[in-house]
Amino acid sequence: MNFRRTAYMMLALFVLIAGAGYAQDDIVIDFYFPSATANDAEGIFQRYADTFQERNEGITINPVFTGNYTDTRNTILTELQGGGAGPDVAVMLTIDLYSFAEEGYIIPLQGFIDAMDDGGAYINDFFPALLANGIDEEGNIWAIPFQRSTPILYYNADLLAEAGYDSPPTNNAELVEIAQALTTDDRDGLLVPVAGGFPIWMFQSFAIAYGQNIVSEDPTEVHFNTPEAVAAVEFVRSLGTDLGVGPAGGAAWGDTPVAFLAGQAAMIYHTTGNLSRILNGADFEVGVWYLPSGPAGEDGTGYGSPTGGGNLYVFDDGSKSEAELDAIWKWVMFLSSAEIQADWGATTGYIAANASAWETEPLASRALEYPQYGVARDQLQFARKEFSSYATITIQGIINKTLESILTGEAEDAQAALEAAQAQIDGILAEYK
């Protein structure tokens, strides 16, 4: 009798599992989103979903929090590679574009834009630097800017004033001069967080400011062995060695803002994503400025920065109906509207992606009250594409490891190390030409 009972129980279990998939009349959009900061992202997105559903009968948004950016990418890849449905729309890193395009999981959005009455106006409202990572080499748009950030310079204005500096540095000679003047036994003059596995982002600021970004519009081209890249990495290394304004090998990502708030670092490079936290946490006057990473040009300045953060991607393997795709595009348009971008920027501190959002409340008055928010936006004129290519993860790994070996003194000859890495990278990218 025992086994018959077991069989019945198993049958009941199967019926229960099968019954879980139920019919649904509405179009349901699965929206996956990560969070890289301590914001209440789940609460915010639920609020946006509710607002959207009130205005759009028959569409249900299902927001799914998927951890940090890496977890989100891995979750989506695992679902799709295993034959699952995956999301309809997701926020993923801007640099994930080619990983997903390569697999054929995401679709270009150019068709939706071309079909709009005022598609040109919609796209031109975005800051061009924020679109750069979402455009392929033929000019097609694949992704819409959403959760965006850049690195910026934070400085302790009180300490600078004490030392006789009324304004922040505008090129890397001034950066070194001020950093050295402010370095004491228990305080670092400048912390650039290149330790801890991800030096490429900060390094890009220096490479761009020295005049040559390491990526181009062509995802099969990487420029890692240029004279500008060599000069840039040697400059970053010297901050911790010859110049002695920070720790050898660079500062760790998480420690940097903590040290700044504790008065143990006079200036730091860090993400705009931490702007609200630093402004709220400091008991001194916080100054924010463009990254003065390069030598002075004709106008005396040497600015340069990569962009960072996430974009909105649309997933389709060709099985979605016109009505579903229309609903998906409506949700993307809603999230990238001035109304939502203004709310998002003011709530989280991420850079609102379109110009009109900065004239929309509540962001307009927040930017007036705290001019620091506007600095991040204005720096976008000096900002360039974040590193992204085919085989992004593998190549980014090679670049990070090479930079680390130079910055920690393991590889003394920077030129030779960059040449060796470039040869490996070219070997991989040759498969995509």
């Binding site: 025992n2 086994f3 077991t6 069989a7 198993m10 890496t70 990418r73 891995n74 890849l77 799709l80 590679q81 990983s99 390569e102 697999e103 054929g104 999981y105 228990d186 670092d188 912390l191 330790a195 801890g196 596995g197 720790p247 050898a248 090998g249 660079g250 500062a251 760790a252 998480g254 420690d255 903590v258 040290a259 504790a262 143990q264 670092a265 085919y390 085989a391 992004t392 993860i393 593998t394 790994g397 090679i398 490891k401 090479t402 680390e404 070996s405 910055l407 920690t408 003194g409 393991e410 490996q424 991989i428 498969e431 995509y432």
Partner: protein, 305 residues
């Protein structure tokens, strides 16, 4: 009569299989099938280039393994470093952590004031979630704001970059691992010690054996089974290390403290690396099996003396 006696064995024959079926299905699905696929995938190179998802992988024989053991290859240079680190890490945590656990057990096996407090203090780290404990240590090791450097600086030392100096990171991770596990090992040794009859020691003292002699001739041989067990789990823990690295420098600058399982984790999300990831998994399993089996052989041989 005959018919029923024939039917009964059939049911009896089927019933045990039906009863273990749920477990069997799960083991097949989550252990056996993935293991077979891992071996298969380690001999293939996934499709690369555009629209890779639709293309079949290419059979490459042992090419993935040869790339891994090639210093000049981009994955090989990382793998060989992580492989060496994993061996160093395992040997260091076992040769320091296990004797430390035994020493603590010997210390806290005698009646003494506040015994429970001492035992709890030593055991406490193993109750903490690993990632939480490692995060606490990442603050202790922080260059500018960390406790370790605050102590060093108060003694006049300029401080060490625990998680940023390529020569120190692996040591830092090893220290955290030993701190986390020594108390756990102590519990097994304590249990083992309590099982040794006290009259053996009384007899030994009457025969004039000193403390060291008693330890070498009585305690150690009688703890052999516990020791084997602890060493085996210590090795397995060491090869499973992932969480600590996530909090403690993510493998260190240029993989100076990276370990095999974490390197596998770091490369798993890109299709083009799957051949390497599976080959690394096979190597890792091979290493764990070698350590475990040689431990058993070593101790079992003594057992038969």
């Amino acid at each position: 009569m005959r018919a029923s006696s024939r039917r009964k064995p059939l049911v009896a024959l089927l019933q045990p299989y039906l009863l273990i079926a749920p477990t069997l299905v799960l083991v097949l699905m989550f252990n056996v099938v993935p293991a077979i696929r891992t071996v298969n995938d380690s001999l293939h190179k996934p499709a690369r280039g555009l629209n890779a998802a639709g293309k079949p992988p290419e059979f490459v024989g042992t090419q993935n393994f040869r790339d891994l053991f090639d210093h000049g290859h981009y994955m090989g240079s990382r793998f060989l470093r992580a492989f060496r680190n994993t061996i160093v890490f395992a040997l260091a945590t076992v040769t320091v952590g296990v004797p430390l656990g035994l020493l603590l057990a010997l210390l806290f096996n005698h009646k003494q004031p506040l015994l429970g407090v001492w035992r709890f203090a030593v055991f406490y780290p193993s109750l903490l979630p690993l990632i939480g404990a490692a995060s606490i240590w990442s603050f202790i090791f922080s260059d500018s704001i960390g406790l370790a450097n605050a102590v060093l600086r108060s003694l006049g030392h300029p401080g060490l970059n625990w998680l940023g100096d390529r020569n120190l990171v692996l040591l830092s991770v090893i220290v955290v691992n030993i701190w986390k596990q020594a108390g756990y090992f102590m519990i097994f040794f304590l249990a083992g010690l309590q099982n040794i009859p006290r009259d053996l020691y009384e007899a030994a003292s009457l025969d004039g054996a000193g403390e060291m002699q008693q330890f070498a001739a009585l305690t150690l041989p009688l703890l052999r089974r516990t020791l084997l067990f602890v060493i085996v789990i210590a090795f397995i823990f060491a090869f499973q290390t992932v969480e600590q690295l996530q909090a403690l420098g993510e493998g260190g600058p240029n993989d100076s403290a990276n370990l095999l399982l974490y390197l596998i984790f770091q490369n798993i999300s890109e299709r083009r690396s799957w051949g390497y990831v599976n080959a690394m998994t096979i190597v890792l399993i091979g290493v764990v099996l070698t350590f475990t089996i040689s431990n058993f052989l070593l101790f079992e041989r003594d057992e038969n003396d």
